[in-house]
């Protein structure tokens, strides 16, 4: 289980979040641009540090201000899919997915078996030699997810994983993503702007406003938010 209870002073407001995500559960984080969604993911991943509070994953403390515990991002075991996918442009799809395993000094044969398994599951084995910069948006998204999943993370963080795809691809990827996340059985936080993502992939949802949780409900109840405070004013 992921436990978050943190505060951080941002430029315009104070980010103050307290929430738990059970293993196998997907929390959808929605809110306007600049409300602190991506910052929250970065704080959990250890890419930024909170000013106060505590973050724990499966009972292991990742950050504790009072005890001065700060586990660096490389030791947190978190699978993070960035909004831009952040595939290393100088590497092939294969090398991108193998990156995390090579750091763990796994044997070359074992790496090959695992990478093949993940790339085949993602439908990317045929283009394994292609440079990451030269593949389509959908392929990038699947490669980024495969790269995050292959290290067997204890937590998944996805920052607007479907926003770079066209609408037709989004529906297919939404289904694939839901199945893949369910199969992992780890806590998962997905940042999104799209209420369709919330309805189809989430178990619970949080509406973040100016760094505070304005609403917290089950994913089914999210559509009713549109009647009151629309979390996505652009649509």
């Amino acid at each position: 289980m992921l436990e978050i209870d943190i505060q951080k002073r941002l430029r315009d407001f104070e980010l103050e979040v307290k929430l738990d995500v059970e293993a196998g559960q997907t929390l959808m984080l929605v809110g306007d641009n600049g409300c602190g969604k991506t910052t929250l993911l970065n704080l959990v991943a250890g890419l930024e540090n909170p000013d106060r509070g505590r973050i724990a994953l499966d009972g292991k403390v990742l950050f504790d201000c009072s005890k001065r515990i700060i586990v660096p991002p490389e030791a947190r075991g978190i699978g993070y899919v960035f909004q831009s996918y952040a595939l290393f442009p100088h590497m092939s799809i294969y090398d991108n997915v193998a990156f995390g395993l090579r750091i763990r000094r796994m044997a070359a044969g074992e790496i090959k078996i695992l990478v093949k398994e993940h790339l085949e599951a993602a439908g990317l084995w045929e283009i394994r030699a292609a440079k990451a910069a030269n593949v389509s948006g959908g392929q990038k998204q699947r490669a980024a997810l495969a790269r995050a999943l292959i290290i067997e993370p204890r937590l998944l963080l996805l920052d607007e994983p479907l926003s770079a795809l066209d609408v037709r691809k989004q529906a297919t990827m939404r289904r694939e993503l839901r199945e893949t996340i369910r199969a992992c059985a780890v806590p998962c936080i997905i940042v999104t702007h799209d209420l369709r993502d919330v309805a189809s992939m989430g178990d619970q949802a949080c509406l973040l406003e100016q760094g505070k949780i304005a609403q917290h409900a089950s994913a089914e109840d999210v559509l009713s938010w549109g009647l009151g405070a629309d979390p996505d004013g652009e649509r």
């Binding site: 991943a45 890419l47 990156f99 763990r104």
Partner: protein, 294 residues
């Protein structure tokens, strides 16, 4: 009534004809203006190109190939060529090894006094080389603020080959560091973050992710620093002197030969021009590759 209508129509036609003539006149005028603007720019371009190309062409015309090849056997030319290439290569190595971490820190982190540090790094670009030479002499010369202590240990820096390298490092390091800093700034921070979350340490991330992405920019910077070192004159002559085989680099040898054998001077100049051309082509190729990849 009908007469009035006919009169109005005639006036209308006359007005239209006047308007058409005006339009035609404006059209011709704007075409003429455009043509003269183009001609003006072309003349300006030809003058600028001639101004740069003419001295280089003159260099080749005044030095026939057989004379150039013969001058290349002159001990002075050979010593200067060897010394210039060796010191410039060593300088580039020092600048790359020391400048890369400095450029990375400058691109990624904010620290107290960063503005001052960045300005200091850029200072040698605008500082006259002769001033740089005097400054180096005042710091590391026999009576300099550091050289004074070094001298007590029997270490003499000024007027040695080491002084040549120090002068070259001083003037050429900003060329590398500025280019490297821009290249590191261009590497999206999300690549770094992705590598960290996948388990890579900062050092592993730097060598396996950031450096390969920024490499073309770094090579361009290193080539520029090498070229600047090769052409260095003012700081070297002030701080290292002009001793054949020890501190007399190619620009210094050109200056010295000018007073005796002009052929040697021309021969060395042609070699420097050839290297400069090669550098420009290399940098342009590298930059094009970076732009295409982005």
């Amino acid at each position: 009534m009908s007469q009035n209508i006919a009169c109005d129509q005639t006036e209308l036609i006359a007005e239209r004809e006047t308007a058409n003539r005006d339009h035609e006149f404006i059209g011709i005028y704007s075409r003429l203006a455009r043509a003269s603007l183009k001609a003006g720019i072309a003349v300006l371009l030809i003058i600028a190109m001639s101004f740069i190309a003419l001295p280089i062409i003159a260099l080749f015309l005044k030095s026939p190939l057989d004379t150039t090849l013969q001058s290349l056997r002159d001990p002075m030319a050979l010593d200067a060529l060897r010394l210039s290439l060796t010191t410039s290569a060593l300088t580039t190595l020092i600048v790359v090894v020391m400048g890369t971490p400095i450029a990375y820190v400058s691109a990624r982190f904010h620290y107290f006094g960063k503005e001052i540090a960045d300005s200091l790094i850029d200072l040698p670009v605008i500082m006259p080389p002769a001033v740089a030479g005097i400054a180096l002499l005042m710091a590391f010369g026999r009576m300099g603020i550091v050289g004074h202590y070094l001298n007590a240990f029997g270490i003499s820096v000024a007027f040695t080959t080491l002084a040549v390298i120090m002068a070259q490092v001083f003037v050429s390091s900003p060329f590398y560091i500025r280019q490297a800093r821009t290249s590191f700034e261009d590497v999206d921070v999300s690549f770094e973050n992705a590598a960290r979350t996948l388990g890579a340490s900062r050092v592993y991330t730097f060598f396996h992710v950031i450096l390969p992405i920024a490499i073309n920019g770094l090579i361009s910077g290193a080539i520029m620093a090498f070229a600047r070192s090769l052409g260095e004159f003012g700081a070297t002559i002030m701080f290292a002197g002009n001793f054949q085989g020890r501190t007399q680099t190619m620009p210094l040898a050109i200056y010295t030969a000018m007073q005796g054998d002009l052929d040697v001077s021309l021969c060395l100049s042609i070699i420097l021009v050839a290297i400069s051309f090669a550098v420009i082509i290399l940098v342009r190729t590298m930059t094009r590759r970076v732009t295409r990849r982005c």
